[in-house]
């Protein structure tokens, strides 16, 4: 008795340990804590964190940009971060001089990421975009991008020295050429930072001002005697803009003040598209359609046990990649679902391929092959029963299909058998001016029971088909590891490990040990069945069964008692 209790307690403990060591409870493990335990990081480190990058990109998109390549996303994000750095940590909007500075706002935004998860498969971080940050990003986009196609250029001064002398005027086109269908120009224009005095040669692409060439020429009137040389040259993969501007002081032939600006080749397709009515629209504003505020939800990376991953500064690590934002429209950002409910991906049902006949050997496969046509035949019988039943229905209850006129589409009345008047004007026609009860549905109740039994039989046959034909034909695959390639590598590594000192792998050792234990289990089952069989046989004759009982004295006692009786 005590042993039984001990066994039960032990079994319960084992079951409990199995339960807690399985990932069933993961979904409860996610704490929806409103604040990450972010450590104090420098402003630069914060701006360079992956979380900030993945918040910045959708914010840029919401401000009206559509990216068409990964390079474009990275370039614009880098430019924005550099620009934010130039603004300084203590930057404050002019209308709120007593408010928090830029550093505090961005740090608070990253720390106040709320985690949401409906299941352990997906954790989402909800980021509230502060108004100050949004205004900054919007102004950056408005200043640097226009509606329609926008091109990006890498600018690398090379410092080539040349001298040239000419007269220039304001808005004078210094050079103009075509490259890959794009119009490239260098035009003398006013520097917007110095509207009163300075003139610079600007690079224009398709009529849009892109960049001015340093340094600024000191020229108060916007026209006058200035030495200048400009050049656009293209190699196989680069375009060079060269502008040299200088004055001719007395005694000197020229003065070098020029850069050679290097541009990557202009792509056929513009990498950034400015969304109409958003870019350069000061009144544009948006809110998340689910929450009513500027919330952006991004998926957060977790390990296979559902634990949330963080970076070195304890900021949550987004599981979304920069590439995922390519092609996202500004109108999609307000529709980002803040719930952590994963969208199920239903894979297509793969077709079961028939293996070659050579592999279908053995008596059981043979039986399976016999069973398969039987299943087919039984299905046909069921179909036949259905047909007979419906035919009988028609015969007995006259529920024929209504015939429709193919031209008018109206119901065709069955041909009347005479006028129905017999004898001395007796009307034998069935009156149709009131509804007759539709009692034929009574029979449906019985059919439901019959069909229920038929369905059960078909399910059993289907099960037999699966066991005898389907399961042995399933080829080995790694579908379940598709999401976890690291685990697959681990499995392969362990399987192919060599058992120390032996010329076998861990997998072969596993097979060997498994089969030994399995056969022991089978032998025990057979022995149990044999014992039960022997007992049943002997139970038919009470006399013999009494003799075979283990408790000899009990038998003797019973015998004496029955003899005395």
């Amino acid at each position: 008795m005590k042993k039984t209790i001990l066994k039960r307690i032990l079994a319960l403990v084992i079951v409990f340990m199995m339960l807690i060591s399985t990932p069933f409870y993961i979904s409860e493990n996610i704490n929806n804590s409103p604040y990450a335990n972010a450590t104090a990081a420098t402003f630069t480190a914060v701006l360079e964190s992956e979380l900030f990058l993945q918040i910045l990109i959708p914010t840029l998109i919401s401000a009206g940009l559509v990216f068409k390549s990964k390079e474009a996303v990275e370039k614009v994000a880098d430019d924005t971060i550099e620009w934010l750095k130039q603004q300084g940590f203590d930057w404050k909007p002019p209308e709120e001089p007593n408010g928090p500075n830029l550093e505090d706002v961005i740090k608070e935004m990253l720390k106040a990421v709320t985690l949401v998860s409906a299941s352990y498969e997906l954790v989402k971080g909800i980021v509230k975009i502060p108004k100050m940050f949004w205004d900054l990003i919007k102004s950056f986009v408005d200043d640097n991008f226009k509606e329609g196609d926008n091109y990006i250029f890498e600018l690398t001064p090379l410092g080539v020295e040349k001298s040239f002398s000419t007269q220039i005027k304001m808005n004078q086109v210094l050079i103009s050429c075509e490259y890959n269908g794009n119009l490239l120009q260098i035009i003398m224009a006013q520097n917007p930072d110095y509207p009163t005095g300075n003139v610079s040669p600007y690079v224009y692409v398709n009529g849009v001002k892109r960049h001015y060439v340093d340094p600024i020429v000191k020229n108060t009137s916007g026209a006058g005697s200035t030495n200048i040389k400009v050049k656009i040259s293209a190699t196989s993969n680069k375009i060079y803009f060269n502008a040299q501007i200088g004055s001719s002081p007395a005694g000197q032939t020229s003065m070098l003040i020029s850069d050679l600006v290097e541009y990557p080749p202009i792509q056929e397709e513009a990498p950034i598209y400015g969304y109409p009515n958003i870019v350069d629209n000061d009144n544009f504003d948006w809110n998340n359609n689910y929450t009513g505020s500027k919330d952006i939800s991004i998926p957060i990376e977790t390990d296979i046990y559902g634990n949330i991953k963080t970076d070195e500064n304890e900021y949550y690590l987004p599981s979304i990649d920069t590439e995922d934002w390519i092609g996202v429209q500004p109108t999609e950002i307000p529709n980002l679902d803040p719930s952590g409910t994963p969208i199920p991906e239903i894979p297509e049902m793969p077709e079961v391929e028939n293996q070659d006949d050579d592999e279908q050997t053995g008596i059981l496969i043979y039986i399976g092959n016999i069973l398969q046509p039987i299943v087919g035949q039984l299905s046909k019988i069921v179909e036949g029963v259905k047909t007979i039943v419906s035919t009988t229905n028609k015969l007995v209850f006259n529920t024929t299909k209504p015939e429709l006129d193919p031209i008018t589409g109206e119901l065709v009345e069955p041909a009347a058998a005479g006028d129905g008047i017999i004898g001395n004007g007796i009307d034998t026609r069935i009156p149709t001016d009131f509804e007759w009860g539709s009692f034929r549905h009574f029979l449906d109740i019985f059919f439901i029971f019959i069909y229920f039994i038929v369905i059960l039989i078909l399910i059993i046959l289907k099960f037999l088909q699966i066991v005898f034909v389907g399961i042995p034909n399933i080829a080995a695959n790694t579908d379940l590891f598709a999401q976890y390639p690291n685990i697959l590598e681990g499995v392969n590594y362990v399987k192919n490990l060599q058992v120390g000192g032996l010329a076998i792998t861990v997998h072969q050792a596993f097979e060997f040990v498994f089969l030994i234990f399995f056969y022991i289990f089978i032998i025990k089952q057979i022995r149990k069945m044999y014992n039960a069989h022997v007992y049943e046989e002997s139970a038919e004759n009470p006399r013999i069964s009494q003799d075979m009982k283990m408790d000899y004295y009990e038998n003797i006692k019973n015998k004496r008692w029955s003899d005395n009786k």
């Binding site: 049902m349 793969p350 077709e351 079961v352 053995g362 059981l364 039986i367 399976g368 299943v375 299905s379 069921v382 179909e383 259905k386 009860g437 539709s438 009692f439 549905h441 009574f442 449906d444 109740i445 059919f447 439901i448 069909y451 229920f452 038929v454 369905i455 078909l458 399910i459 289907k462 037999l464 699966i466 066991v467 005898f468 389907g470 399961i471 042995p472 034909n473 399933i474 080829a475 080995a476 695959n477 790694t478 579908d479 379940l480 590891f481 499995v491 399987k495 997998h507 596993f510 097979e511 498994f514 089969l515 399995f518 089978i522």
Partner: protein
């Protein structure tokens, strides 16, 4: 109150035909289940799980288990059929000839 009750009974009786027609709908659904049960691709649904088990455990273990499952099912099937046949035969043997006629005629 009593009047209400009779009205309710009257309502049920008047809707009796439509209530019965629901059984017709269920019957149609079950007929469609019967015709579609053979088309359902169970193996396709099982393939990722069983294929991965086969990959991890190896062909030997997988096929041994599959074959034993088949043997077990085969034994069960044969035993069930044997019992069914013996039940029928025993019943037939225990009954006297034309006993069904006596039962029917109640004599």
């Amino acid at each position: 109150m009593i009047v209400d009750f009779f009205e309710m009974v009257g309502d049920v009786l008047s809707n009796f035909t439509s209530i019965l027609s629901y059984f017709g709908n269920i019957r149609t659904i079950m007929e469609s289940v019967i015709s579609e049960i053979g088309d359902y691709n169970v193996i396709g649904a099982l393939e990722p799980c069983f294929g991965t088990i086969r990959y991890v455990a190896g062909d030997t273990v997988y096929m041994t288990l599959a074959r034993f499952l088949q043997i077990g099912l085969f034994i069960l099937l044969v035993r069930a059929l044997y019992e069914l046949v013996s039940m029928i035969l025993l019943q037939l043997g225990a009954q006297k000839p034309l006993s069904w006629l006596k039962t029917f005629l109640n004599i």
